[in-house]
Subunit: 312 residues, 2 copies
């Protein structure tokens, strides 16, 4: 498969390694024919980005005519661009798209999905939720399941902060520690205000529940107003506060919830994520690391391999 | 797809319902053209088994020439027959096999798998481990993952008994309760001696770790020798006893283990099953109901749909 890759940060670099090593072991050949960043286009592949020419991802799509577009660029929640237009155009041409970028799907899920279904370009987006831990692809291997509720801890940064506050740190101390460990960005706004979890919830709700939702459909509230005193008082009652993302019927919410030990999310601590799916047949929970460059790269990688084998 | 179905118990009946209802919603057409039980062959399909003629599953394979063999018959751990020969012959002819029957795979995993790979008949066996909760198929959607350890609670009956003993019941009382609730069979030997979990472990180890194992490779020990006193004494130390199935390197074991709250299996109580997978990229846990006719039927159903869409 001839691919172009948009974005060349840590996820992209980890993905290159996976594609050069274990893709071949699996009998899957993916050649990266161009890499696109904000700086321009690099024709060919390489360990470091070296601009060959000016141009956008759309220019690279036209220039290379790839079988596959890989998007590991960072999210633009204002418009979803330039990724959104790229996906639509690629899918229309029957070119497959695999992405770890949540923004286009959190904004225009059905526009992208319907384009894929109509024109035959396939769409892989496992890595947008819980990185390499099957979430989207867990739902994918349970076809026909009537999912009634999706509930989870979908943001590792806030869960880490809440776990540390439970141990006695203040919000500021916990955030600082998370930043030092690389679990939180220097501007953690999208994590701590619930936005990141909301974007992931939109993707899961659309895909799993058939919602017609976008990021504006979610009532989200973050963890900044939580006092350490309240968390410690709840601890004495045997409870924890978790930033719970929930899709149920038409309601999509992300908010701090007080939960007890009977809740499958109670024991999910630190940067770990968890997803609880209720359905007409079974209730299942999947738990694992929700972030990390290699983890996200593995999510993208698994989509590429499964797609090349015919799933989707 | 033209199918023959071997076995017509509760799993088979639930599967019929799924195939008649939601398969069509998914655009998958499966026609059951014959049902085979120990009593003989029923040509066609029906709510009740009515023998049309004498014959075996192999006779039905020859008679119908199906695209798909569905095996929901009960396990014969002595020889794996008649299912084992049926799979080999079907796969050789390029006929797909989807099964909830553990025995053939626990005895001759690689003989079956290699036949599938060589001749193009595909093999679905999600339902052999944890019924409809993705276990085999969870591994399937993480291609290229280097799994280093598989560890789980794979038998609901024993986990139910141990959970009840933890609450204060004796082994006999807990077993009786499990039998009354339909969680344990009248002859619970294969559950309580660890054999059932061992068979599932063999399947996961072969598929996930690339082991060359069969049921004789497992060192297994059940829960019958556990005293309630010991379980209660451990409870005071904050520990639980769980029947843990573990594949690590060349070692496959099923045995009661004392585990603490830091263990992802600690909170798995009642008939619930859990699977913990360690790998070079991520540690993940999946939790859900491991048994039940509808659950097993859903596992078979999901394999049929995914196979018809091109996965495997």
């Amino acid at each position: 498969m001839k691919a172009i890759m948009v974005g060349f940060g840590q996820v992209g670099r980890s993905l290159r390694t996976l594609l050069q090593g274990r893709a071949k072991e699996l009998g899957v050949e993916v050649e990266i024919e161009a890499v696109v960043t904000r700086r321009g286009i690099m024709i060919g592949d390489g360990e470091e980005f070296r601009k060959t020419r000016d141009g956008t991802a759309m220019d690279a799509l036209n220039l290379i005519g790839p079988d596959l577009v890989i998007d590991v660029s960072s999210a633009n929640y204002q418009t979803g661009e330039p990724s959104l237009s790229l996906y639509i155009e690629a899918l229309r041409r029957g070119v497959h798209v695999v992405t770890s970028n949540k923004a286009p799907l959190a904004l225009k899920f059905w526009e992208i999905m319907d384009t894929s279904r109509r024109h035959g370009g396939k769409l892989g987006f496992q890595a947008t939720v819980m990185s390499g831990v099957p979430s989207v692809n867990l739902i994918r291997v349970m076809p026909g399941l009537k999912i009634t509720r999706i509930r989870g801890i979908l943001n590792g940064t806030t869960n880490y902060i809440l776990s540390k506050m439970y141990q006695g740190l203040s919000y500021e101390e916990a955030l600082k520690e998370a930043q030092e460990l690389g679990y939180a960005e220097s501007n953690p706004e999208h994590d701590v205000n619930g936005f990141d979890a909301a974007a992931k919830l939109v993707i899961l709700a659309n895909y799993g529940l058939g919602s017609r939702a976008n990021i504006n459909s979610v009532h989200f509230k973050g963890i900044k107003e939580l006092s350490q005193e309240r968390i410690i008082a709840l601890k004495r009652q045997g409870k924890k506060v978790k930033l719970v993302a929930e899709a149920y019927g038409n309601s999509l919410t992300v908010e701090p919830r007080e939960i007890g030990p009977e809740d499958p999310l109670y024991n999910i601590d630190g940067v770990t994520n968890a997803l609880h799916i209720s359905s007409d047949v079974q209730e299942i929970t999947v738990i694992g690391p929700g972030a990390g460059p290699l983890n996200a790269a593995f999510g993208v990688f698994s989509d590429i391999v499964l797609m090349s084998k015919g799933l989707y």
